[in-house]
C-alpha cells in the first residue's frame, strides 16, 4: 500500500525560507456580472413568450344536393361582402330584386369599430322580431380581390359580438349588380 506523505514538504520549507506573499482569494466579480446580465438581456429579448394564437373556424359540411339547402326567412339575414380597398358592403335580406329594393351600404374596414354597430343592430332587430339573437344569420361573401386580413377582421368581429350562425358563401351575380349600383350612387331597385 502506498502511503501519503504528510510531512509537509520536508526540509526545504524551513523557518528561513522565502515568505510567499499571501494573496487575497477575492476576485473582482464585476466584469463577470456584467457579462452575465448582458447575456440575460440577450436571451430575454430573443425569447418569444407569446405564441401566435389561432382562431377556430367551423364550416358547414359541403352539400352536394341543391335541395338540401335550408330555406330561411329573409328578415333574419344580413349579408356582408368584403370588397377591395378595405371596404365592406352589406345589406339586409335577400337582395333579390323580386323581394323589393334593398338598401346597400358600405363602410370602411380600416376601423373595425365601424362594422360592429351594423352587426349589433342586426342582432337586436332579429331579437325584437323573433325573440332570440341566435336566429340571426350572417352570410359572408368575400370578393376574390378582397384581402384575407379583412376576412379575418370580420370573423373576429362576428366572434366578439357572439354570432352563432354565419355562413361563408360564394357571391352571386346579383350581389355584384347590387354593389355596382351602389357604386354608381343608386339604390338597388327592381328592374322595370
Amino acid at each position: 500500500m502506498a502511503e501519503l506523505d504528510t510531512s509537509g514538504g520536508g526540509k526545504h520549507k524551513g523557518a528561513g525560507g522565502p515568505k510567499s506573499k499571501k494573496m487575497s482569494t477575492r476576485v473582482d466579480m464585476t466584469p463577470m456580472v456584467d457579462l452575465g446580465f448582458l447575456l440575460i438581456t440577450f436571451f430575454m429579448l430573443t425569447t418569444t413568450f407569446n405564441k401566435p394564437q389561432a382562431m377556430s373556424q367551423n364550416f358547414p359540411e359541403k352539400q352536394d344536393k341543391k335541395d338540401e339547402e335550408a330555406v330561411v326567412k329573409a328578415s333574419k339575414v344580413l349579408q356582408l361582402i368584403p370588397w377591395e380597398n378595405n371596404k365592406i358592403y352589406y345589406f339586409f335580406g335577400t337582395g333579390n330584386p323580386s323581394d323589393g329594393p334593398s338598401i346597400i351600404d358600405s363602410v370602411d374596414f380600416s376601423v373595425t369599430k365601424n362594422i360592429r354597430p351594423i352587426l349589433t343592430k342586426h342582432l337586436s332587430q332579429v331579437k325584437a322580431k323573433f325573440g332570440s339573437e341566435d336566429d340571426a344569420i350572417f352570410l359572408i361573401k368575400p370578393k376574390d380581390k378582397s384581402k384575407f386580413k379583412n376576412y379575418v377582421d370580420l370573423m373576429d368581429e362576428l366572434n366578439i359580438v357572439g354570432v352563432k350562425r354565419l355562413v361563408p358563401m360564394e357571391w352571386t351575380p346579383n350581389d355584384s349588380i347590387l354593389v355596382s349600383n351602389s357604386l354608381k350612387g343608386l339604390m338597388a331597385a327592381p328592374p322595370q
Binding site: 466579480m29 436571451f43 394564437q53 389561432a54 379575418v152
Partner: protein, 225 residues
Amino acid sequence: MPKVKVPRKSTAMDMTAMTDVAFLLLTFFMLTTKFRPPELAPVDLPSSRAEVKIPDKNVMLITCTADGKVFFGLDNKKVRARALDRMEASFQTVKFTPEEKTGFSLMDEFGVPFEQLPKICTMSNEERMKIGQTGIPVDSTQSKFHRNELGEWIYNSRMAEAELRQAGEIGDSEGLFICLKGAGSADYATVKKIITTFTDKKVNKFNIITSMEAGGVAVAETPKH
C-alpha cells in the same frame, strides 16, 4: 474641538451573490429559449382577439403567402414519412430514393409541386430557402397530375396520422390540428381555394393563425379620407 472621525468605508461590494442570481437567470433563459428557425415562407399575420392555443405537437400547417403561394408542413416526423409513402403510392410516377425519404422526413415545410419534391429533399435548408419554391398546386389545372395536390397532401397526412395512431406509434392525440396561416395581404381568392380544398376533404374545422391584438376596443388606424 475634537474632530469627528467618519470611518471610511470601501465602495467595493461583494458581487458573488449577484453573480449567482445573474447566472441562474441566464441558465433559465438559455434552457427555455427555442430559437425560431428561419421561415421558409414569411407572412404578415392578420390580428384578431381569438385565443385558441396551438398545441405543441401534431400540427398540420398550410401557409399562404402574400403572392398566393401555398406551403405545406407537418411537425411530426413519423406522420411526415408515412404521408410521403402514401403520396408515392398514390401518384406512382414519382419515385423517391431512401435518402430522399430521409431528407423529406427532416423537412418542416415545403412548397413545390409533387414532381419536383425528390429534388429538394436532399438539399440543405439554406439551399431550399434559396431556390424559391413555387408553391403547391391548389387546383387540378396547375398540377402536372391534374389533381389538387394540396388536397392529396391533406388527405394522405390525415390517413397517415390515423394509421399511426391506431398502431399506437404516436401516443395519444386527437388527430391533426389543422392550421391555416395566411398573409393578411393575400387575396381572398387564394385563401378561398384552400378553404374549398379543406371542405372537399371533409375538413370542416380548422384554425386560422393570427397574431394577438391588444384587448379592449382595438382601433389602431385612422380612416384615410
